[in-house]
């Protein structure tokens, strides 16, 4: 049951079509894992905090450096050299006392991912490298957990949502060989593009957890700000997919 302060705080959520107090109660009872507190993670953390997800776990091993600050808006100049997860946790607590946040200053990898995916309702992939993105995909498929994938570089971005039974990241793309994918270090990234994609990831998580509206499944949305274009591309589930296909062997 929402208390009077919560009914006021979340009144604009509750008024959304298909959302209601029941949707808000579901959000407050939900646990979301956010992998990465950088360009995608900053807006995702802010919006999932503001909307009232009950428990957030933020995992990122890095400290804030000055070249992060043009896009990683959850961190401030005073946070340089501080752990990103500690900086992010402070902002979450200041924004919404309803949200319980766990800060993990470690890398998401084979040693911890199964336990973390297993204990959360939805995973938001805000990581910055293909190896971790495919690890998240494979473990979420294995554990039948929904997740939001996004990637950004330069003035472009992509986003898709996975829920069990639908196309996964590996249905659409093979894992790029190490060192072949372009990163922000190579060709830069516009902060507002990362902000747009991270915000959409938060929206996907909210829609799933509150049980309202349509999800971005079996398709990718591609954003190219340099040419001011959006394109939605349908992706077919690959029956031979190494992660989710009918005869998929465990690839990890």
């Amino acid at each position: 049951m929402l208390n009077p302060e919560q009914k006021e705080r979340y009144s604009r959520n509750i008024k959304l079509h298909g959302f209601g107090e029941f949707g808000q109660e579901k959000l407050l009872a939900s646990k979301v894992l956010i992998a990465g507190a950088g360009g995608l993670g900053s807006p995702a953390i802010f919006y999932l905090t503001a909307v009232g997800v009950g428990e957030l776990t933020i995992i990122d091993p890095d400290v804030v450096i000055s070249s992060n600050l043009q896009r990683q808006i959850i961190h401030s100049t005073a946070d340089i050299q501080r752990l990103k997860v500690i900086s992010a946790k402070e902002k979450v607590k200041a924004l919404n006392p309803d949200v319980h946040v766990t800060a993990l200053a470690e890398r998401l990898d084979e040693s911890n991912i199964r336990r973390l995916v297993n204990t959360h309702d939805f995973i938001v992939d805000c990581t910055d490298n293909p190896a971790t993105k495919f690890l998240i995909n494979d473990v979420c498929v294995e554990q039948k957990k929904p997740f939001s994938h996004a990637g950004v570089v330069s003035m472009t971005g992509q986003i898709m949502t996975y829920i069990p039974g639908h196309a996964c990241l590996r249905c659409a793309f093979e894992e790029p060989r190490a060192g072949t994918a372009l990163t922000a270090n190579d060709i830069g990234v516009l902060g507002a593009v990362a902000g747009t994609l991270g915000s959409l990831q938060a929206a996907e998580a909210v829609k799933y957890l509150a049980g309202c509206a349509e999800l971005l499944i079996d398709s990718f949305l591609f954003l190219d700000v340099a040419h001011a274009t959006w394109k939605k591309a349908k992706v077919k589930r690959d029956r031979y997919c190494l992660a989710c296909g009918e005869k998929a062997n465990r690839i990890r």
Binding site: G41, G151, A181, F222
Partner: protein, 91 residues
Amino acid sequence: MVIKYYATLRDITRTKEETWQSPTPTLQDLLNALCNKYGSTFQKWVSCENGGYGCLSIFLINGQDYRSLNGLQTQLNQTDIISIFPPIAGG
């Protein structure tokens, strides 16, 4: 037919789309011709390590995933729109 490029492919080809009139009966023929035209950087994004095409990028023909059609052997028509999306992996 029209070929639309996305993300880093727009930098490599220096265009977001082009009209293609050379005879390329199948998707495979088209990809062979595009790799000849744009060279190894383009080829890296559309090909597979062990030969063939389509491991890193998504190909759509008139909005349909090529794998739901006839794969690389899908016949192409002059009115088709081909879209090629490379992966974007930063965060």
